[in-house]
């Protein structure tokens, strides 16, 4: 979100107005000293920070204006409530700096922290602290009745303290691990967990949730399991098999039909040939008769 340049240009004589947001984070244990690489961002007025362990946090907001610095009212808020202490305000040249230090121990300290600079209009910079999100697959996991399947939950670069699995019956979340056929297998690495379900039944289908527990909060992921019965693919299978049988029958019958027609035409040809032979024979018999006589006369 840009720093409303159009509006500011209309308002101030000098168009140069920058809202800088500087965020210093120390991701160390609460007891140790802070000091880590600062993250600068000059344009956005909102920043998302992923945190999984308790840390010392140091937030800095930097506001440059051409007007009077003393007339700027600086406040910090967490979510909607005003924060009273722990923040410093200092000025250098035409830039106003404000710094808020605090420690994140558990989930109560997570949330949105905002710095406000009020001149005539209020400028705001926001830091959003969130626990790591679990990456989920959008497509459902499909399996069959009697089969076994494994649901996996994985966290990219984070290491939760604990994993829990829930299944939903309607809108109620019921922890998993009680039923006979479901086993929670924690993976070889701490950043993944697996739920193995054997002997699937149709009722085992539905939504499953895996919860990752951190010191500073919780994160969850949704996995959809669909359990099909064997009849589902069987119907198209039988339909295709029937189609193939019909096709083969049609091809073979067609061939027999054309062969029969060929035979008929062949028989017709043979018929003509035999007719010709018969007519030749009749001639032959007439010719044979004199020979026969000759033979007889010779024989005698």
């Amino acid at each position: 979100m840009r720093a409303l340049p159009g509006l500011l240009a209309a308002r101030a004589p000098t168009p140069r107005l920058l809202l800088l947001l500087q965020c210093l984070l120390a991701t160390a244990r609460p007891s140790s000293a802070d000091g880590s690489a600062p993250e600068h961002s000059s344009m956005p007025v909102e920043k998302n920070i992923t945190l999984e362990r308790p840390s010392n946090v140091n937030l800095t907001c930097q506001f440059t204006t051409s007007g009077d610095l003393n007339a700027v009212n600086v406040t910090w808020k967490k979510d909607s409530e005003q924060l009273e202490n722990n923040y410093l305000v200092s000025a250098t040249g035409s830039t106003l700096y404000t710094q808020y230090r605090f420690t994140i121990i558990n989930s109560k300290q997570m949330g949105s922290y905002s710095c406000f600079f009020r001149e005539e209009k209020e400028q705001r910079g926001t830091f959003n602290f969130k626990v790591p999100e679990l990456h989920g697959k959008n497509k459902p996991l499909i399996s069959y009745v009697g089969d076994s399947t494994v649901l996996t939950c994985k966290c990219q670069n984070c290491f939760p303290l604990n994993w829990t699995w829930y299944s939903t019956n309607g809108s109620v979340k019921v922890p998993v691990g009680v039923q006979m056929n479901k086993y929670v297998i924690n993976g070889t690495y701490a950043n993944e967990t697996k739920l193995k379900i054997t002997q699937l039944l149709e009722e085992d289908g539905g939504s499953y949730w895996c919860h990752a527990l951190f010191q500073v909060g919780e994160s969850e992921e949704h996995i959809e399991l669909v359990v099909l019965s064997y009849l589902v693919p069987l119907k198209p299978f039988l339909a295709i098999v029937a189609e193939v049988v019909l096709l083969v029958a049609a091809i073979l019958l067609c061939e027999k039909y054309t062969q029969k027609e060929k035979k008929h035409s062949d028989e017709g040809k043979e018929f003509e040939q035999t007719e010709q032979l018969k007519s030749d024979d009749s001639n032959g018999i007439e010719n044979n008769v004199p020979r026969h006589r000759k033979n007889e006369s010779l024989g005698q």
């Binding site: 499909i142 693919p233 193939v244």
Partner: protein, 427 residues
């Protein structure tokens, strides 16, 4: 000696071409698109990539190894019953695979059973095609083999869609029903009404003469090496892309892009092989080298555009080398030994097809990604193309006088009949 009547070169022959088209689609298209199932099997059985790769490689090897058996059975019983039996076997293998509970089950059902079914379909069909065509044989064969390319293009996303709706068990069931169409294709193979063509010299004599033929043996070694690397992308590309965080459906589409360029490569290479003068071996070596290079570059490419370009390059070059591999053989061994030579070649090169994918999977398990697998596959192809350099007539400017038919020379004891002795280049 009975003189063979001229093959029709048309008529019912075109129906046989259609049948061969669908058969090559159903056999090789399914085999090629099996890479989509590969990812599912790895997840479902929790097994390593090497062990899952054996499924496809056993299938390929059995199909190639059993080709001579298929041709022999079809000369005895005619192509129709053999191909129909093959179709039933192939479908049965897939059907049984849908009930699999272990990887061994899949090896036996898809690898062995479906593989032998495929062996019984493809070789007899090609033989039947040769009975129907003589002048336009290469055109007919080329048209029939386009089925491979088109089906790989269509089947990869189709299988992915099936997997997303039915999971792998249901999908195997439906692929089984699809494979049953091989039976219908077999029913179309009407045996042509020709007199028997007596085999010249008997198969055993041909076999021994081939085994002593130096160039043929070198060619076999070259093709075995090529075969080892050839099938790797079709099997492991989808998994490699998912390692790079691609979604399954775009990965399957990349496979089909490779299949389209494979199709184009086949046609272009066939035309080029006829148009360019000189021995075909040189073109084969060119395509093989380019295929090896594109394979070895796969792990280097990270950006989607680079991967798409490499897939197109691999598809084109690997498709280009396929028809040439078949047409170098008559130049080497002569047309009278072609069938024996083809059967023997397929048997030996199946070793490469058997060992290639599991080796690639093993390398992936050991190193954690597919870099080594693709590089080694490219190396195999390059070494195969290197051996092609040693073939005779590679450096000559004209092709050898081979494809003229051999007339039998008869000599009676006292009357000498001298017939023109054409092209006797082998002993």
């Amino acid at each position: 000696m009975a003189r063979r009547t001229e093959p029709p070169d048309g008529g019912w022959g075109w129906v046989v071409v259609l049948s061969a088209f669908f058969q090559s689609a159903l056999v090789f298209g399914v085999l090629r698109s099996f890479g989509v199932f590969f990812v599912e099997f790895v997840a479902a059985f929790g097994e390593q990539a090497a062990r899952v790769s054996w499924i496809a490689s056993i299938g390929i090897a059995v199909q190639q190894f059993g080709s001579p058996v298929g041709s022999a059975l079809s000369t005895k019983f005619g192509p129709r019953p053999v191909v129909m039996t093959g179709g039933i076997l192939a479908a049965l293998g897939m059907l049984l695979a849908s009930f699999a509970t272990s990887l061994t089950h899949l090896y036996l059902s898809i690898g062995l059973l479906s593989g032998s079914g495929w062996a019984l379909t493809f070789a007899p069909t090609l033989a039947c095609l040769s009975c129907y065509f003589s002048r336009r044989r290469s055109l007919a064969t080329g048209l029939a083999l386009t089925g491979v390319g088109l089906s790989s293009f269509a089947f990869a996303p189709f299988f992915q869609w099936l997997l997303s709706h039915y999971a792998w068990r249901g999908s195997l069931l439906l692929v089984s029903a699809l494979s049953l169409h091989l039976v219908a294709c077999g029913a179309l193979l009407r045996p042509p009404s020709l007199a028997e063509d007596p085999a010249v010299g008997g198969p055993r004599a041909q076999l021994t003469s081939l085994l002593h033929h130096g160039p043929f043996l070198r060619y076999t070694v070259a093709l075995t090496l090529i075969n080892t690397g050839y099938f790797i992308p079709y099997l492991h590309l989808v998994a490699h892309l998912q390692d790079l965080d691609w979604d399954p459906l775009p990965a399957a589409f990349l496979l089909s892009v490779a299949a389209i360029s494979d199709l184009v490569g086949r046609v272009v290479s066939g035309w080029l092989g006829d148009a360019v003068p000189g021995p075909v071996t040189r073109l084969l070596m060119l395509w093989t080298t380019l295929t090896g290079v594109s394979l070895a570059l796969f792990p280097v490419a990270r950006a989607p555009t680079a991967l798409v370009a490499l897939a197109v390059a691999y598809g084109f070059t690997s498709g280009a080398l396929a028809p040439l591999a078949f047409s170098v053989l008559p130049e080497l061994v002569g047309t009278k030994r072609i069938y024996c030579g083809l059967g023997l070649l397929q048997m030996i090169e199946s070793i490469g097809g058997l060992l290639g994918p599991p080796l690639s999977g093993y390398l992936r398990d050991v190193t954690g990604n597919y870099t080594a697998s693709f590089v080694v596959a490219g190396a195999f192809l390059l070494s195969g193309s290197g051996i092609l350099l040693t073939l005779p007539d590679f450096f000559s400017c004209f092709s050898t006088t081979t494809s003229r038919p051999q007339d039998l020379v008869t000599e009676a004891p006292d009357i000498k009949v001298s017939l023109p002795k054409e092209g006797l280049e082998e002993d």
